[in-house]
Amino acid sequence: MILLETHELTKRFGGLVAMDALDIEIEEGAIHGLIGPNGAGKSTFFNLVTGVLAPTSGKVVYDGRDITKSRPHQVAAMGIGRTFQLNPLFGDFTVFDNVATAHHLNPGSSVPSIYFNTKKHRENEAWVRKNTEEILEFLNLSRVKDELAKNLPHGYQKILGVARALAIKPRLLMLDEPLGGMNPEEIAFSIGAISQLRDRGITVLVVEHNMQVLSILDHVTVISFGAKIFDGTPEEVRRDKTVIETYFGGDDYE
């Protein structure tokens, strides 16, 4: 089943075409890679799908519904979690509070029940604390859970971004360069964690430069200058001539 698809998704900034009639289909339960050189339009794609930017034309269909005009918080409520390339955090909150606060949608107490601290809300809060502990345990963040997020090393902050996105119980998780700036140890851990997410039934879309991620991908789309230049399996992409030319230039690469 196709979880997310785009039809001729186009975004122009003045004369610049950032996204040129892109068609992508993301299979439910897969780890889908979106790769491409700098400026290829990967972050634009993220922002178009999550409603941060409105496309010039084309549409985004998620789970059979047209979400092209949805706002970011509505997209999140439909089960699309995301991280950010530059990884902003709630820096003044502890790691635990970052993830606990991210349970805004689940289990979703109403405003009056939060204000009057009803029995239902207290049960929800207990569940949130338990679920937060589980997420932190899964991503190996438990031992830093009382640190302020802004004091964490970069690699931990990246992983915290994933933990926060998991708190909304996503069906589709979109990771914007999750391995950026990580050391080899952290890269190995993150790649392991991402492949475990698939085992938990979460569809993952990864935007990444680091080719180590190819080993866990089920499907790869390569874009360049806002247009799709390749769509297929990781094995095929390694042999594809257009992709090799885009990345390395010249035609006598062998």
Binding site: T50, V52, R71, P72, H73, A76, A77, G81, R82, F84, P88, L89, F90, G91, D92, F93, D97, T101, A102, H104, L105, S109, V111, I114, Y115, N117, H121, E125, L148, K150, N151, R164, A165, A167, I168
Partner: protein, 357 residues
Amino acid sequence: MKKALPFLILAVFFLIAPAVFTTRTWLNAFILVFVSIVGSCGLRTISLSGNLSFAQAAFIGLGAYVSGVLAKTLELSLWVTIPIGALAAMAVGLITGLPFARLRNIYYCMASMFMGVAIIQFISAMNVTGGANGITGVPSLGKELSKIFDMPGIGAALENAGVTRVHLSADLFLLVTVVSLACLYRFEHSRIGWTLRTLSQSPEVAASIGVNEVFYRQLSVAFGCFFAGLIGALYAHYSTTLSPNSYTMGTALWLLMYMMIGGSGRFIGPIIGALLLEFVKQIPTILTSMSGLGGVSPEFIAFSRWAGQYSAYTPFLTAGVLIVVCYWIPGGLVSIPARIADAIRGHSARDRLESNA
């Protein structure tokens, strides 16, 4: 327990104080302090989401005018018009807030500043509000409360308990202030307050976890404006006069200053700030009225005259205090105990800042 201690001390102070300082001037000063406390705590509630509002004084004024004018022209009971005043302030806050709810930081400051000025200009331009001169003869809260004394049995019991008619107004203000603060405290310390603070740190991330920015900003505006309007409406019936000059930008800046100097990071900050600075503002009035009572030395009278002249310089004094606070104690006055504790333990505040950076 440790957290509740400052609030307990404050509550005890306010309970005892009106009994010790019995003159009308002191009571006026106390009631102005209550208005400032609720006004600037409401302002802080709005600013939890990272937006500073410059329109808070206008919302206090809106509550005052709606309640005062309704009670005077339609001869409604002030117990009906006071809640209407509060709800009107909230409604106007929500309606004018809608186009502004997507503005952030300095843009919100500017928009709210113009909105505050516009509301007061609008009030000054209407006939029913008495225009720029304001109106007098607003139904009096004191009179309404005195009726309790006329009830058989209750009046005598109250007088035996040492409660005077003048005190009753101050006690009502104390009650409304405590209830308002309790409501605002609960708002901030529930999950709602946490959600608002996510907006102040990163609206983009907040949206990615499903926070509806407009809804939550509006929710904080509703709370902040409702209580500002409530205390404003109450004050209109206490002072029985209404003047647009009381609710200008200047007043809004004072409210902001109480919050910044007291410490905007903690709930008790604006309470401390309003308490101290509002009294500083009242000192000349209090001294003058004390020398008017007679039985004081000529030196005291000379001193109070001098102090009366200095009152023109209060804004300069407060600006000076604000600069000192901004440079040396960014957490405001409420952060001083923690700083002293740190100094005793041997870490300077600078060390801690650097280790946090």
